[in-house]
């Protein structure tokens, strides 16, 4: 209670309760206040007008599973540009619920919902709002400052796993979702959505479904549009395609031109073609001990000499990459990147 007293002083001297931060105009206190889901909310069955979706290659977040939904207001639709990015109308919600099955070998069995993140498009900007589920799984409550919670589960290999799971605060949301200083969605792009999804009324390409539902302006033939491969599917695309898809979703939200990690000169988005910018024989800039006594981000043929391998395998907060979103190592992702580096032509 010693610290408690200090806190009381801090609260009383704070102007916080009189804040008029724009988030207070938009964020509702509880997830149920939005009415996105049928009751009981924990089943995550959306009401009419909200579509579930998925993306080809997801961000690794400590093996959490994700349920994604989109709501676009009536009478308006998402437009798209020649370079295959979307313009979402004001009032759009992107809804993402993170959960863990109790036993990953029974994906439809018992599960624990951890958090639901909302991205809301206002007239002027995207706002990020994290909601944390209660133990009873009846409600999720706004947590602007984020939270941490212990999670345990049985992994796909039968092993018991646990992690101190982090629910990001509003600023951490932005630290990944920022591009040219403006908060943006990351996953929903033409190339990430261009794949089939099993809807209640049958399987359909997601882009075609969005167009037929009236939430997306008509598109050219989907076969002419780009498509990100699924990095977990060894039969989807080449090794290079899969590794680049993994780097794109796990790293490129920061490591791209205009992203927060552009100071590093390391750009890992799918659109990047310069080998040095991709890390090949590139010395680090400000990696500190993150370099792990290795000289270059990627040494072709030698993952064991490459800084990239060192950082994605680390769980030390001062070394690990990405900085947020994980406490565990994404073993499958590390193996993919190691194979990619090992198979790169040497002496480039």
């Amino acid at each position: 209670m010693f610290l408690g007293k200090k806190m009381l002083v801090a609260v009383c001297t704070s102007s916080l309760l009189f804040s008029s931060h724009p988030i207070l105009d938009h964020a509702l206190p509880r997830l149920s206040d939005y009415g996105f889901f049928q009751e009981p909310m924990k089943n995550q069955i959306p009401i009419d007008g909200i579509l579930p979706y998925t993306i080809a290659s997801p961000l690794f977040s400590d093996y959490a599973e994700k349920l994604r939904f989109i709501h676009v207001p009536d009478q308006v639709a998402i437009s798209h540009t020649a370079d295959h990015t979307f313009n979402f109308p004001a009032g759009t919600f992107l809804i993402k619920t993170f959960y863990y099955p109790s036993d990953f070998r029974k994906p439809d069995g018992a599960r624990r919902l951890i958090e639901t993140r909302l991205l809301k498009k206002t007239e002027t900007e995207w706002l990020a709002m994290p909601y944390v589920w209660n133990a009873e799984q009846t409600e999720a409550v706004l947590a602007l400052a984020g939270d941490r919670t212990d999670v345990s589960w049985i992994h796909g290999n039968g092993k018991a796993m646990n992690v101190l799971y982090s629910i990001p605060n509003m600023n951490q949301c932005k630290s990944c979702h920022v591009y040219n200083n403006i908060q943006q969605p990351i996953g929903p792009k033409v190339r990430n959505l261009n794949m089939d999804f099993v809807y209640d009324d049958g399987t359909m390409n997601q882009l075609e479904k969005w167009v037929s539902s009236g939430i997306l302006d008509p598109l050219p033939d989907i076969n002419t549009l780009p498509r990100t491969v699924n990095y977990s599917d060894n039969f989807d695309g080449t090794l290079d395609n899969r590794a680049r898809a993994w780097l794109d979703i796990n790293c490129a939200h920061c490591h791209r031109r205009g992203g927060p990690a552009e100071t590093s000169g390391l750009y890992l988005d799918l659109e990047e073609n310069d080998p040095t910018a991709l890390g090949v024989n590139k010395p680090p800039v400000a990696a500190g001990r993150g370099a792990g006594d290795r000289m270059y981000t990627i040494v072709p043929g030698h993952p064991e000499e490459s800084i990239m391998d060192f950082r994605i395998r680390s769980t030390d907060p001062g070394i690990m990459m990405p900085e947020l979103s994980r406490k565990l190592v994404h073993t499958e992702g590390v193996e993919l990147i190691q194979a990619w580096i090992r198979n790169m032509p040497k002496g480039e």
């Binding site: 209670m1 806190m7 704070s14 400052a145 500190g288």
Partner: protein, 408 residues
């Protein structure tokens, strides 16, 4: 709009119950409004994750004194930085310490108007390669003021300003770091009145390749005490700062328009002041926009003193100096790599673009002339080096004073 108030109040009181200083501080950082001062009580506060402020204007974060309010990240479980400030305008940080961050202590990016005043960044237990990289770390910022600050035991640079414009670093102290103070790829910086001692290298002015902001210029280093920067280089390997020889007072690398004057540069065992091109690192670069040379470097009216002692033997240049000079190593060392674009048809470089050295109480000089003398491993040991600073006998116009656009 007021629906949230009861919830916020509720969250406060749950925070009280759990004594969550961290959560409360973070919530204040999120909800702060222009003109707010966020006050921190005196005490040692354990923090588990990066604290962040984003997109704010006119905010002061004020502790109860540099040694009064200590944010300890010893148990940090997430985020690389201690405090992260991004995309803000006119921010002041005052009177607190950030201790034992896993990565950088305080990183500020895209901030116009950032003042650090009486802020300490420290890793306990002295120099260790496992310490975080940078102490105070503004990058891609404008109008940067660092004053009366302290940086201790960073495994890269204690006070580091990178890819920024209009900078003053003054009246601060840096020790036990690899680099005490570093100005990198930055334009218009005044570094003065600092006490920089017991680092591997005292003050570094570098331009590095493959960065977004390509070049720096117009850096003045004056009235500093730069002493005994002789500790072993403990930077993790793979970092460019790991190339700095132990015993470096000032190092100017691959940059232009640097004026070094009125400093007291004492007992830096390997190089009181080194003026070198990027070639000295023996790193390759494919950055076509990068200029690896130095030009317009003016070193004048400094006091150099150096007790006879051997230079570092952990570095090729140190070894060479040891073989050639034993304990009497020259104070100012130039690699002899002028920017070829300033060399005229007559083979001469105009004074305004040269290395000029004047009135440094008879400081010793050495031109390594690396393009001629470093063709094979043994050649520098055989070569005849020029140690006559007459070749640098020139002066240049003083660089202008840096004026910051900061109102507090």
């Amino acid at each position: 709009m007021n629906r949230l108030r009861p919830l916020l109040i509720f969250q406060f009181f749950t925070a009280l119950c759990f004594a969550e200083f961290e959560k409360d501080f973070q919530l204040k950082l999120i909800l702060a409004e222009p003109g707010d001062t966020i006050k921190l009580e005196s005490g040692l506060f354990p923090i588990l994750g990066t604290l962040s402020m984003e997109g704010k204007e006119d905010i002061v974060i004020r502790g109860a004194g540099m040694n009064g309010t200590v944010l300890s990240f010893a148990g940090q479980v997430e985020g690389a930085q201690g405090l992260s400030i991004t995309n803000c305008t006119n921010i002041t940080l005052e009177d607190f310490t950030v201790q034992n961050a896993k990565g950088d202590a305080i990183k500020c990016q895209y901030v116009d108007g950032i003042t650090f005043r009486r802020v300490k960044a420290q890793w306990l237990g002295g120099p260790k390669p496992t310490n975080g990289a940078y102490g105070l770390y503004p990058v891609q910022c404008e109008n940067v003021l660092i004053e009366h600050c302290v940086a201790i035991a960073a495994s890269d640079a204690g006070l580091y300003v990178g890819q920024s414009k209009d900078i003053i670093v003054r009246f601060s102290e840096a020790f036990d770091n690899v680099a005490g103070i570093e100005i990198e790829n930055s334009t218009r910086a005044d570094v003065y009145g600092n006490n920089v001692h017991g680092n591997t290298g005292g003050i570094l002015v570098f331009d590095l390749p493959d960065l977004v902001v390509k070049e720096g210029k117009q850096v003045r280093i004056f009235d500093n005490i730069i002493k005994d920067n002789n500790i072993d280089n403990f930077a993790p390997e793979g970092n460019i700062v790991g190339k700095v020889p132990s015993g470096t007072g000032i190092m100017v690398m691959a940059t232009e328009q640097v004026e070094v004057f009125d400093n007291t540069i004492i007992n830096n065992k390997t190089a009181g002041t080194a003026v070198v091109s990027y070639y000295i690192t023996e790193e390759e670069t494919k950055d076509s926009q990068y200029n690896p040379y130095t030009s317009a470097i003016h070193i004048h009216n400094n006091i150099y003193r150096r007790a006879p002692q051997i230079p570092t033997l952990d570095h090729d240049i140190g070894l060479l100096l040891f073989v050639r000079f034993f304990r009497e190593v020259p104070d100012i060392i130039y690699d002899g790599m002028p920017d070829p674009k300033y060399v005229g048809d007559n083979g001469l470089i105009p004074d305004s673009r040269r290395l000029c050295i004047a009135d440094n109480n008879e400081a010793g000089y050495l031109n390594l002339d690396i393009s001629k003398n470093f063709e094979s491993w043994y050649s520098p040991f055989m070569a005849d080096f020029n140690t006559d600073d007459n070749e640098c006998n020139c002066t240049q116009e003083p660089l202008p004073e840096v004026i910051l656009n900061i109102d507090r």
